[in-house]
Amino acid sequence: MDTNWPFWLAGLALGGFVPAFAWLTGKTLGISSGYSEMCSLAAPAGSERWKLWFALGLPLGGLASNALDGTVWAATSSTEMQATLGVSTVPQYALLALGGALIGYGARTAGGCTSGHSIVGIALGAKSSLIATLGFMLGGFATTWAVVQALGATP
């Protein structure tokens, strides 16, 4: 069942995708701005509309990955996550939605996310991407340690 890739193979695939996609389409990938496109579906399609289609392709990849394991739509339950956080369903969903809102607000403020800033941006040597990624890591470390302390969870 463990058909996950070792870190080096996954890294080669994700990193290699960036120049391959650029060579094919002339675009550098970014995902958080795909959500902006979802928020402006009513507006006429601009030059960024491809990001919407790219974002909508992502779930298909998740589906294919599961299908390869023979677990099509096996609805990986959220119980593991609940066990890790030590919370029940409703607070869990509230945490997820709150986390999502911070992701959306933060990514658009910083001008990108883990794909556009941390992979593409740093690979291009952009100062803003390095600083944004330092922010991502700092926020993530501080939050995880605070939550673990507060909930006494032991994953």
């Binding site: 990193g15 996609f21 974002a55 593409v120 100062k127 501080a142 340690w145």
Partner: protein, 140 residues
């Protein structure tokens, strides 16, 4: 460029994210607790590979296969980049997802990711409202 190409591109990237375990809550928490360094390895190798590939592409091509000129713009730096990054990081740790993996999780049948995706949409929309209000306040 046809929409199908971009959908296929997204599907490929989502497949890689899934295989990389970037869609696993435990892997994200493990990364931030330093108990599971797998994702650090993934990100590190991905950055190095992308840097090498992009450098090669810039030297060998001026136009994409699609005919589009190749432009690799660095994202502009401004004062809010770091603060936005920290907010993003808090959300990353709380939800165990980032914008790309939240959508990929949906495809994996993780229904709880609906809450994450809905949150990201609300946050994206709110940021746009706030920056529009700020811009009009400055203009007035």
């Amino acid at each position: 460029m046809k929409r199908a190409v971009f959908v296929a591109g997204g599907a490929t990237f989502g497949f890689f994210l899934s295989r990389a375990r970037a869609t696993e809550f435990e892997a994200i928490v493990g990364m931030f607790r330093l108990t599971d360094l797998h994702l650090f390895g993934v990100i590190g190798v991905a950055i190095a590979t992308a840097a090498l590939g992009l450098a090669l592409l810039r030297r060998t091509a001026t136009h994409a296969w699609s005919g589009e000129p190749l432009r690799f713009a660095r994202k502009p730096y401004h004062r809010a980049v770091f603060a936005g990054g920290v907010l993003f990081g808090i959300g990353w740790a709380l939800s165990g997802a980032c914008p790309g993996t939240a959508l990929t999780q949906l495809g994996e049948g993780k229904a709880y990711a609906l809450a994450t995706v809905a949150g990201i949409l609300v946050g994206t929309w709110a940021q746009r409202r706030v920056s529009a209000l700020r811009a009009s306040a400055q203009g007035a």
